[in-house]
Symmetry: C2
Subunit: 403 residues, 2 copies
């Protein structure tokens, strides 16, 4: 094979590698596989009829706008809708501070591009969202991780870190029903975190794809909302939202809510990336949601996922031994398993694949190594019967691991 | 205003600035403005009925796929369709070498990320496409430019450059009906270019958004096709295509055809950017095109733009003085004007705005400065009557410039 192009690769390119997730999603596509690997919504939760009707209205009534180039910041009616949504979540911002992105993933890339130099310090949870690590690979940050317990990240450890003089570019967290653990940052720690951030001028990136998927209790106040309350404006926190779990991932419509000081920079960066998100997808998202669809639609999704979570927790309880522990998330899409120290979940996956069940080995979520005996299970995509069957298969695979 | 975030900006971020284009597109939105600024297709050229029917088919028959996450590389039926399209353009590649991107703009960003280090040499035409310069701002290349004449870039100057020992990361060109000049690289120079590239192992990025918009003659062989012919496979050239001018820009669906050696790297990079392009938009693009729509649809577009080009050329002939010269493009969307040396087109735009006509000042297309007395006119978006009126307004604005 020629090396004309590979000889020209940039320093950043050499940090970009294939991800466990990508190869795993391929495993997940194999025939008869029960996949707990991807973070896929259940297709029966897509509001397909409403989206179809909205697509038709958009293409019949607004085609000249929906098919044309539009502003980099996003489709104005959608951004206006999102100001209302953000206000209802306690984050009152003007439309100018909302930028539509191609899912949250693009917001992560933009943030990496704008705020990470090689070797710069970024603080993340341990484990943290794999997609963030992938987005930031080319920018080569240095990571310090904060351990998670049942109440979320260790704010006291963060306080010690900041007190010791470390000055991170930002802290990244998934505040509710975290990916990969399902853990939610407690109210008390949210307050402690935002006070600490204000004290040390620490920027926070709050990723919130799952906040509306609550099955016990409701939504806690966003860290962004506590920031807005404390500072009188959004100051410390950049907030990432997405329609991927509210409507459908195939639209690729998310949004970024930014403190006023960096909005222009974010928009300029986004323009260089892809000029804008799809006008059609944005118009469809808006037309689908404008008359309150989310309020009518979300309870149904919550009910379906609630059952699946309970089914998976019960199956784990039934089939797993006492040497396996797992999280009990109050929402979201994921359960996090910790296996005995001698089990390597990357090896386990090979066995599991033969048993026709897939998951994501936990080590992929640890930027500084570790987690070899952990794994992530998704419970939103498979049916309850398949969840039970899949957990049984996982147990069989586990039984075959060397002791 | 707070500086919590701006204090954390990366080195690359400091190179990202607002573009003339962005601010100009805002001018173009003003009431009664005749805009020759954007590179917008005419909305009457969108195949709206076909897209509407395709959207309905997709959402009724394939919603579980079109609304779900999909592969980073793109929607497989669309990629399969694109292999046929590329083969018909003389570039026979397997499906694996085609990656769907969010318009060509995203391909430019990915290329910058993978192949540009700060200070690395990139060769571009002078003037060159503004969006490429924007995409590459954060990667801070050093540019060497090649002058354009009526047959395209100066291949002999390139030969001298390579002979002198310069080793650029790649050469970027818009081979047909270039943005911003409308100039097409002649067949003879295409052959000379690909031979030179093979001799010096020079990677070439061939951007081809306008190749199907020919009004005199037809399509010349792609540089990528000559490469495939010469090397027996795609080796020197990465090719960028887009549906923005074939169907509609609002879909944000383009594609990148890459030499085999860098496909994996490109896909990994794309995954970090946004996971994938919209499944729905890709499925709609495929459903719209699968039965030969492009062959039926493109002659109509060509006919409309052909007339507009002729009307603009005739209006320039009628209204502009002998001290103004312009290109006579055989296709595409743009005409390039060179005004007398004392005219500054950025100043002219302020006057033009008062006269309610907009364009893009040429200096924005010169990465190393220059071109202050040049400007780009788009002829695809405005109606023939508005084109004549707009050129008259431009003449009035020009008459008011200081001599």
């Amino acid at each position: 094979m020629s090396t004309i192009w590979t000889e020209q690769l940039s320093v950043g390119a050499n940090h970009i590698t294939g991800s466990a997730l990508r190869d795993l999603l391929k495993v997940a596509e194999e025939t008869d596989m029960i996949s707990f690997a991807g973070g896929f919504p259940a297709p029966e939760c897509f509001p397909t009829e409403e989206l179809t009707a909205a697509a038709e209205r958009v293409l019949v009534e607004h085609s000249a706008v929906a098919l044309q180039y539009g502003p980099t910041e996003g489709y104005r009616p959608l951004r206006s809708f999102l100001t209302q949504r953000m206000a209802s979540l306690g984050v009152p911002v003007p439309l100018e501070q909302i930028i539509v992105t191609s899912g949250s993933q693009q917001a992560l890339d933009i943030i990496g591009k704008l705020f990470i130099d090689p070797g710069a310090l970024v603080i993340v949870e341990e484990p943290t969202y794999l997609g963030a690590l992938q987005a930031w690979q080319p920018y080569s940050p240095r990571y310090i991780t904060l351990a998670l317990d049942k109440d979320g990240l260790d704010v006291e450890a963060l306080a010690r870190l900041l007190e010791s003089g470390e000055r991170p570019r930002f802290l990244y967290l998934v505040s509710s029903f975290q990916n990969p653990t399902g853990i939610t940052l407690s109210l008390e720690r949210r307050h402690a975190l935002i006070k600490l951030a204000a004290q040390y001028r620490l920027p926070i990136v709050e990723d919130d794809p799952y906040g509306d998927l609550y099955y016990s209790g409701g939504r806690l106040p966003l860290v962004a909302a506590l920031d807005a309350e404390l500072a009188g404006e959004l100051r410390q926190v950049m907030y990432l939202g997405t329609f991927s779990k509210l409507l459908a991932p195939g639209l690729r419509v998310g949004w970024l809510v930014a403190p006023a000081e960096v909005v222009d920079k974010l928009v300029y960066a986004k323009q260089g990336l892809d000029l804008q998100c799809g006008s059609l997808a944005q118009a469809i998202a808006y037309e689908t949601c404008r008359d309150g669809l989310l309020e009518r639609h979300m309870p149904g999704i919550r009910s379906i996922y609630h059952e699946r979570r309970d089914v998976m927790l019960a199956a784990l309880e039934e089939y797993m031994g006492t040497d396996v522990t797992w999280t009990h998330p109050e929402g979201g899409m994921f359960i996090w398993l910790t296996l005995p120290p001698h089990v390597d979940t990357t090896a386990l996956l090979r066995t599991a694949r033969a048993h026709k069940v897939a998951f994501v080995p936990g080590s992929a979520f640890f930027p500084n190594g570790g987690g070899a005996n952990t794994l992530r299970l998704n419970f939103s995509h498979a049916s309850p019967a398949r969840i039970v069957e899949g957990v049984m298969r996982l147990k069989h695979a586990l039984d075959e691991q060397p002791h």
